[in-house]
């Protein structure tokens, strides 16, 4: 708060009321409800519910399918994060280097930011179409029959590819702005000290990008966990069946389709704990400062 602030008593309260009431009703109330109903077993026909303690949680953690989905979520998140970060970094380094057409490249590489995840999934459906999709054809020419929606790992690969495509622009924008904020003097000094471009990159540029990279790491993990819902839902055409899915998709499937409110709420709470842990980790890392400036 500013030192020279205003001292009115009622005005700030009035200003805060809209924000506070919206988050109390639409954030804290639902969040509390999720925690509460995770300890109950709902009657599937809506005739009340019974307190079951931690049963919903123990059921989940002992459930083989849930474990499988959790594992897939880990693989999916790691692949999407790693691939979209590294490809975006490569493109950003090149876009920072070239002189001609730099602006054109920047625009053409970032516009996908505005494409909605389900639309990206829809484009994926076309690219991976069973009979004439360009990617399916390419793979057929290489001797592999892609079967999206049938073969588990083929579908997983398509989900990862589409999610990476959709995420590259955000990372690209942040990396490029990070690169452009490296002072000229530092670049010149590095040029004098180090003739080899690759050791200049790993020794100077890369560590200078570490704060950006770390911030993006968290952003990408959150993206892969939550924002890919639209990609997944479209690629499996709303029918998960035996297809791979992430934990968030499972919350939706169990709660909304399967009417298992207790189990779905327990899953929500597990995800909340996961996100909170991630945030605490982020804060602690920021405190330890991977900042060089």
């Amino acid at each position: 708060m500013k030192k020279a602030g205003f001292t009115q008593a009622w005005l700030p309260i009035l200003l805060l009321v809209p924000q506070l009431s919206i988050i109390l009703i639409f954030f804290y109330w639902p969040a509390a409800q999720a925690v509460q109903s995770s300890f109950y077993l709902q009657d599937p026909f809506g005739f009340g519910s019974t307190f079951v303690g931690a049963d919903n949680y123990t059921d989940l953690l002992g459930n083989a399918e849930y474990k499988r989905i959790a594992w897939f979520t880990v693989i999916f998140t790691v692949s999407v994060t790693f691939l979209s970060l590294s490809l975006a970094l490569l493109l950003a380094v090149k876009a920072d280097k070239v002189i001609r057409g730099a602006k054109g490249y920047r625009t053409l590489l970032m516009w996908v930011y505005a494409v909605a995840p389900p639309v990206a999934g829809f484009i994926g459906l076309i690219m991976f179409n069973q009979s004439w999709g360009p990617i399916t054809r390419t793979f057929a020419a290489l001797g592999h029959d892609l079967k999206i929606g049938v073969n588990y790992w083929d579908t997983a690969g398509a989900m990862i590819a589409v999610s990476v495509w959709k995420q590259i622009p955000v990372n690209f924008i942040f990396f490029l702005s990070g690169l452009q904020s490296i002072p000229r003097s530092v670049r010149e000094a590095a040029l004098i000290d180090n003739r080899s471009a690759s050791s200049r990159f790993w020794g100077v540029t890369f560590p200078l990008l570490a704060p950006t990279g770390f911030f993006l790491l968290i952003i990408n993990i959150t993206y892969a966990l939550f924002d890919t819902f639209g990609v997944i839902d479209t690629l499996v055409k709303g029918e998960p069946g035996n297809n791979p899915m992430t934990l968030v998709y499972k919350v939706y499937v169990d709660g909304f389709r399967g009417n298992d409110l207790g189990g779905s709420s327990a899953q929500s709470v597990i995800l909340m704990v996961l996100v909170l842990a991630l945030t605490v980790f982020q804060f602690r890392m920021v405190e330890r400062r991977i900042h060089y400036t």
């Binding site: 030192k3 005005l11 924000q19 920047r106 053409l108 505005a114 909605a116 009979s131 003739r195």
Partner: protein, 291 residues
Amino acid sequence: MSDMTNPPRRRLRLGTIMDHAILIIGVLVMVLPLVMLVQMSSIPDTEIIKTGPSLHFGDQLDDNFEKAMFGATGFSGENAGTRMLMNSLILGIGFAVGKIVIGMMAAYAIVYFRLRFATLAFWVIFTTLLLPLEVRILPSYEVVQNLGMVNTYHGLIIPLIASATATFFFRQFFRSVPEELVEAARIDGAGPVRFFIDILVPLSQTMIAAMFIIMFVFGWNQYLWPTMITTEEGMFTLVRGIKQIVQVLEGNRVPEFGRANLLAIIAVVPPVLIVVFFQSWFVKGLTESDK
């Protein structure tokens, strides 16, 4: 020194060519899918199921546009493109405006006033940054249902506003505004309302524009929440409509790819145009909001 400023010319050239090659491949990967969508909506559906996307551009674009914008496939016939476009605009603009207005007010209160419960308010508000809507999607749906807000615009928009990204963004910005401004305003006899409207809002113009672009795109692109909260076809947004498009494609013998592709294009074009045209604001807002 001369050796350094003039590295061997040949190698430099080869390096530059490689740089461009990588960038061009990247651009192609990003752009080709959309070109393919346009191409596919320019040829008849019967040709698509035979050949798939190709390099041949046909003349069906306006036909398909007509079908996509004014034809309807659902039961109620209310999910024509124009209707969905309108709903998308309402969601995008309503969300962006709501978020900016509420966020600026709250940020102003937190930064410029002495509040006894300031720390508490701060934490209550900023905890919302941690948990995305997807995590608490089901209970949120129940709350909205209990309030009778299913299939309404406010039921669609307000729960999405229940997170403090804009508040956080404006808090950061207000804190960077020089202290002297408030003091000067107070000496001139301006009260907090005058100060806010006459000084702070004009000062924040660029920030407001940047926030508007980011929030509009975010709102426009919402999928899961609209999917749950709107069940009447008259309430569908374009992005929500994608789900239906995909299901329609499944059912028919000659799927209506032309119409589907065109709807996907319409769903993509407005946010893309905004991001491309207001690129510098958008990039500034995006990269500064998270520091």
